[in-house]
Symmetry: none
Subunit: 402 residues, 2 copies
Amino acid sequence: MNSMDSYKKAVLLVIDGLGDLPTPKTPLQIAKKPNLDKLAKNGITGLMSTIAMGIVPGSDTSHLQLFGYEPMQFYPGRGPLEALGIGIELEQGDIAFRANFATVTDDLSIIDRRAGRIETAIGKELEKSVNMKIEDVEAIFKSSVEHRGALVLRGPGLSASVTPTDPHGPGKVLESAPLEPGAEKTARILNKFSKEVYARLKKAEANKGRKLPANMILLRGPGPFRYVPSMFEMFGISSACVAGGALYKGVARYVGMDVINVEGATGTKDTNLKAKANAAVNALKDHDFVFLHVKACDSFGHDGDCKGKAKMIERIDKELISILAKSGAYLVITGDHSTPCSRKGHSGHEIPILVYGKDERTDDVKNFDEISCMKGGLGHITGRDVLPIILNLIEKSMMYGT
Amino acid sequence: MNSMDSYKKAVLLVIDGLGDLPTPKTPLQIAKKPNLDKLAKNGITGLMSTIAMGIVPGSDTSHLQLFGYEPMQFYPGRGPLEALGIGIELEQGDIAFRANFATVTDDLSIIDRRAGRIETAIGKELEKSVNMKIEDVEAIFKSSVEHRGALVLRGPGLSASVTPTDPHGPGKVLESAPLEPGAEKTARILNKFSKEVYARLKKAEANKGRKLPANMILLRGPGPFRYVPSMFEMFGISSACVAGGALYKGVARYVGMDVINVEGATGTKDTNLKAKANAAVNALKDHDFVFLHVKACDSFGHDGDCKGKAKMIERIDKELISILAKSGAYLVITGDHSTPCSRKGHSGHEIPILVYGKDERTDDVKNFDEISCMKGGLGHITGRDVLPIILNLIEKSMMYGT
């Protein structure tokens, strides 16, 4: 391998939920996106199934796969990734959960499982009163945006093989139960946590006068944290992440990326795309590889808002792609899965992918969309192929054999 | 299976390092190659990743994969393949190394790690004085071309888990060290070998008066030899190899091919292509499958010589393809990996592949190059697919099921 060449860095831009279905056109086909189309014209394109053809990927597993980490081997469950994303320092053996503030009655019947989507500041205020010690276990809670947060249990003899307390629908707060021998203690701690949280939150200052007081924390997605080799250890590259959403930052921290916090990168529809693009380009100075994530197209897909998704793509093209295209870095642009507006949820349809670099091969595809990329020179690839392609672009591959 | 048909034989032509990047055209696009283009027009084409998309293959692993031997299962390391290629008869348990004659000072500091690229005849002369017995271990050395050779250790209790004596750069001859318990003896033998080689070579007749005497042998790429099932045992086909370079002959011997030595097949840029093509066609008389290897395109790639690579492709087209095309055999033409002239090294970019046979399907690709073959009817395949395709062509496949 020869790495003396000029500018061997790469940006992987993941436009969340990018792929769609034609109604009769897809958002990518509707959107005016001269910059993306120019990159398609001067690059090489194809279609990608993040996991495998037809498989519907979650956001966590799909990102792990794109970063070169086989989900079957490395997926720790959603809890640890959320907790890392919120900024909790995890330790080997910690059990982490996704958490929701909710409103419940005295008999723990759920009235609103998001506590009226409390403001982020209220969550931060309440957070202080629910960190506690139960038996010999520390319960570490941190809130994130609105009603969301993560809980970490730290102590001896814990297990992630327990049922959730969150019914994920109407009903009562669930009693956690062990799923295998040895998990009894963890279930008991969780049930004590639910009781103690209710006792503390119902008299919390920040809940006073609220119609839907945030007086419960619902838990789901348990997972055990363990250290995994970093991208530097696995692939010999330094890497950075620019993202708004906690989950994406969490996956990035899990694989050892430097997470760069950007003012205005909210993970929502009004995110500051220019700031994110500039932060990504800036991060290229001292990283081989930058992962840049934009969430909003997925949210428009979940809302069934095809026009909104097309408009978001136009914003990305104008405010973000224009900056990336001038960076001189290799660009790999794709999504983590399709979120068709007609389905309002993830689907297993392939996602367009585009590879651009000044010395790379080109095909004759001139537009970046689901239909044009069917004829792309990359053909049909999977998420497993993406990191090897990137390592090959920036000449950081380890040769297989001699 | 039906093997009564007329002429069911196949040649696999591997043009080493064939694939390239556009600057702005690739050597395959630049070269005038009417015979290859005619085969493309009348055959079916595609792109191949020898190992997997984006993975940078070595020459040894890639050939094993093309012959239907999974490298993860069958790769013995470089040493045994080189030793076999040089013509050493290996036995189960032998530990083999790649070897270089070098010039060192009395304190074993390396002055020239190729001993001034000594003539092949000098190496042959010196070879005699460095075969020795150390403790109960035989050290069998054989030189090949210029400063190159292979060392085999044969005896009880040996291990390949030792560090090399070749620093593969400036410095001193390294002390070999065991990498795991049980490898101490092998490391000790290697260190005794270094000392004894220096003692013997510094007074060797052939070194007298040389400015850069070949007074040391540097060792790397240790690997244990073991018998693997031959291609006949694995796939039921008789096979032959026509190649110049020792490594390619070595891989061929390892998988049980008959290695045919051809006058003028040097593995260099002035190799006798007509002689090789004729030898391959001749070998078809009593073999089902002939592997034909041409090295020089890879060498031009390593030298960054795009025009030289294009001219070599033109020579191959004129002197070799013309003969193969008249053989009546099925032809599979590809490379083992890309060696882009702009990178001067191997890369993980796909390699064009072409399958031709008078009764085979055809696509509408008319030129054999990296860009045209993106649209080929074979699509994107891997090295794992190549031998099954060949067995299917010559009707030697074992049916999977009934």
